[in-house]
């Protein structure tokens, strides 16, 4: 068959279609009008019109994280592209596969300070995994397919393709995926077998083993989570997860000791500190996880499985690095474990679990719901229990701050891809558009955005999108009238001088919901909470639930900046005993 000549815009859409794309998030403008014209003339791909380009990228992130597919963004040149920068950086930090198509002024005007021109590839070079400027329509099909390859292989990430308007309008040949060979980017997925054998031997000899898994397990696909669960069970070791890894191992499993890190559980952090063999699987020793580096897990042999060689020995020196896809490596580890009939010394393991149980008995996440004010922890606990009662397993997105940490602590995820949060970059304004993206991907499922009132306002314009596409997203706002996490740090580090962290003149969220033809609900005292949550779950429409919570509540446990894992603050009574060091104050 002779390949048909197509316009650049048609080539873009045909490549998307061939790659299995069914939804894209975007916002039109002058430079991308040819693509919008091509979208008008087809029925395969559904376009979701957001209200600001930043929302499109977060929506695509939510879509990608909850499905394992690539999220697609389409924006115009100049301001369209610059508005996408935050989302691209967010996706880069959290390894989310995104393809962002940006319009560009025609090639002959590039560099002329033309209207709505920006050096998009220059601006986005450090915040994408890779980017392209396509100057010839005959390169377009190759670049499109290559972009999918780059975004999804190795450590996933955002890829941007800058498309000058004249290239979109020019006529060229389409090349199918099968004809494209990516010549220089083919990361290996299989781990070195000798290293895997060495790792298994080391784990089998451990007395205090610990498995610390992260977002890489989720990125590897649902099969990797199953393999992780199997491996943890085989070894009998305790398992902790990072913020990005929640759901990779079932929270209800007895071997799960909670999230680790700055606001992780007492048992998880002490286990990190005291273990003798640490198996890090698809996590990257982030500073929120390690605390003070020179006091980080001083006595352990560290095994690190990661697909990205640059994650190895970046912050923490590891003894046995295994470079490969988590799923493939876990499969081999299980094979070797079975093959060698490895077994951890039962007596040592029992003693280790006794230590673990002693730490657990501290019950570091306990809280008291009393009086007339709703405790945020109580609100989330009830949200989860009532979802269970209604037989729902919600997809949850969060904004960034105290509510995010409480959600991570009190919502127990059983499956991967149910939890979407901005981990690495900590982007306020992520949650609402991300929930929108998740709901587009899973129209029949319950999607809850756990938000703080301040973060929520950062991309609140997307309520209009949610309303237009009748996406039944539930916003669960833990409203404390403060930038809660900022206020907490000011309390702990800056002598309770609450500089610019209180917000006056917040919208009436119930009325806000009504203006967008949504349902607004409010709970201001504990007795109203359950009814509001039940109502929210039941209604098949978008809902904003405004939950007024204790304004002065802090997130505990907490490893203060510059402290080690075994120097946690467990609650308010610890604050005065362990003042934060000068060095700690400098850290973020």
């Amino acid at each position: 068959m002779v390949s048909k000549e197509l316009t650049g815009s048609e080539i873009v859409l045909k490549a998307l279609e061939e790659q299995g794309v069914t939804e894209i998030f975007g916002y039109p403008g002058g430079a991308v009008l040819p693509i919008y014209d091509a979208i008008f003339n087809q029925n395969q791909i559904r376009h979701i019109l957001v209200r600001q380009e930043g929302g499109a990228v977060h929506a695509a992130e939510g879509y990608a994280r909850s499905t394992g597919k690539v999220g697609i963004v389409l924006v115009t040149s100049g301001p369209g592209a610059t508005n996408a920068v935050t989302g691209l950086t967010d996706a880069l930090m959290d390894s989310i596969p995104i393809i962002c198509l940006t319009g560009q002024v025609p090639t002959h005007l590039i560099g002329n300070d033309a209207f709505q021109e920006a050096d998009t590839t220059g601006i986005t070079r450090p915040c994408t995994k890779h980017n392209y400027l396509v100057k010839d329509v005959n390169d377009l099909a190759r670049v499109m397919h290559e972009a999918f390859h780059v975004a999804t292989s190795g450590r996933p990430g955002p890829v941007l393709i800058d498309l000058p308007k004249d290239v979109l309008m020019a006529v060229g040949t389409y090349k199918p995926k099968s004809k494209i060979k990516v010549r220089n980017y083919n990361p290996s997925v299989k781990g070195d077998l000798n290293a895997i054998k060495h790792a298994v031997e080391t784990i089998a000899k451990a007395k205090k083993p610990l498995i610390y898994a992260g977002g890489g397990v989720i990125n590897s696909g649902p099969a990797a989570s199953k393999l992780l669960t199997q491996f943890v069970k085989m070894t009998g070791a305790p398992c902790t997860l990072t913020l990005m890894g929640l759901g990779a191992f079932p929270a209800s499993n007895k071997q799960f000791i909670g999230m680790l890190g700055m606001h992780g559980t007492y048992e998880a952090n002490l286990a990190m500190h005291d273990c003798d063999v640490m198996v890090c699987i698809g996590a990257r020793f982030d500073d929120r996880v390690t605390g003070r580096l020179d006091a980080f897990s001083p006595g352990s042999t560290k095994i690190h499985v990661d697909i990205d060689p640059s994650s190895i020995n970046k912050n923490v020196r590891v003894d046995i690095p295994i470079i490969g896809d988590v799923g493939h490596v876990l499969e081999d580890m299980i094979k070797v474990w079975k093959g060698t009939q490895a077994k951890i010394d039962a007596k040592a393991l029992k003693a280790w679990w006794q230590e673990m149980n002693a730490w657990r008995s501290v019950d570091c996440l306990k809280f008291k719901q009393e009086g007339k004010v709703i405790k945020p922890q109580h609100a989330l606990t009830r949200l989860w229990e009532l979802c269970r009662e209604a037989k729902k397993e919600p997809y949850v997105t969060t904004e960034v701050g105290q509510h995010q940490m409480w959600a991570a602590q009190y919502l127990g995820f059983e499956k991967p891809n149910q939890w979407m949060t901005s981990g690495g970059l900590g982007t306020m304004g992520y949650g609402l558009p991300a929930a929108m993206g998740v709901q587009v991907a899973h129209p029949k499922e319950l999607v809850v955005c756990v938000a703080g009132e301040a973060s929520y306002l950062m991309n609140v314009q997307e309520l209009s999108t949610i309303s237009q596409y009748r996406l039944p997203v539930k916003s669960f706002i833990l409203n404390n009238f403060y930038l809660g996490m900022v206020r907490q740090w000011q309390e702990l580090l800056h002598g309770q001088r609450y500089s610019e962290s209180y917000m006056n003149s917040l919208p009436d969220f119930v009325k806000l919901a009504e203006t967008f033809n949504m349902v607004g609900l409010r709970a201001t005292k504990p007795s109203e909470l359950d009814d509001v949550i039940k109502e929210m779950i039941k209604i098949d429409k978008p809902v904003i639930a405004d939950i007024h919570v204790d304004q002065m509540e802090n997130v505990f446990p907490m490893i203060p900046s510059g402290a080690a894992h075994n120097e946690m603050l467990l609650g308010p009574e610890d604050e005065t005993e362990k003042p934060i060091s000068e060095e700690g104050m400098v850290l973020v």
Binding site: H130, L133, G154, N184, D192, N194, S310, P321, I323
Partner: protein, 187 residues
Amino acid sequence: MRGERGPGEICEVNAQNETVNSHTIAVLVDNEPGVLARVIGLFSGRGYNIESLTVAKTDNVNNMSRITIVTTGTPMIIEQIKAQLSRLVPIHNVKDLTIESASVERELALVKVVGEGEKRVESLRIADIFRARVVDSSNESFVFEIVGDTGKLDAFIRLMEPLGLADVSRTGVVAISRGVKAMDVAY
């Protein structure tokens, strides 16, 4: 071959060794717009040093360029630099010529010396000792071309200082491994 590395290779980094050393790194890249910006951006974005950097197209068949970077850091930092470079999509191969093999390093400088009389003669005499060539001369100036390793060039330039050193242009270091082994394109 990207991403494939024996575990031993990384383990060899000595845990106690925090000394900062200079390393010469050779990088094979696609000859395409923006590739140098990616490399430089990586160095500035992550706070690594660039002591010297050279780049030119070296392979017409595959349309590739070779970048030679001289950088400094602890063994852990150098390992990071290599891993971070390898991660860039248009980069095919990265080699640390300082530790992975014996190598030859050369640099070229053009040195302008302005002066008269005895000083002028002295500069010629020293140029002779260093096997520098005169590539331009006027009644009051010479331009010398000198090739050698960085230390030799530094020494020559230092000696020219009192003799009327006016201008220096250096290429930066280029390097290649000794012996039969060549750098793979690594498709």
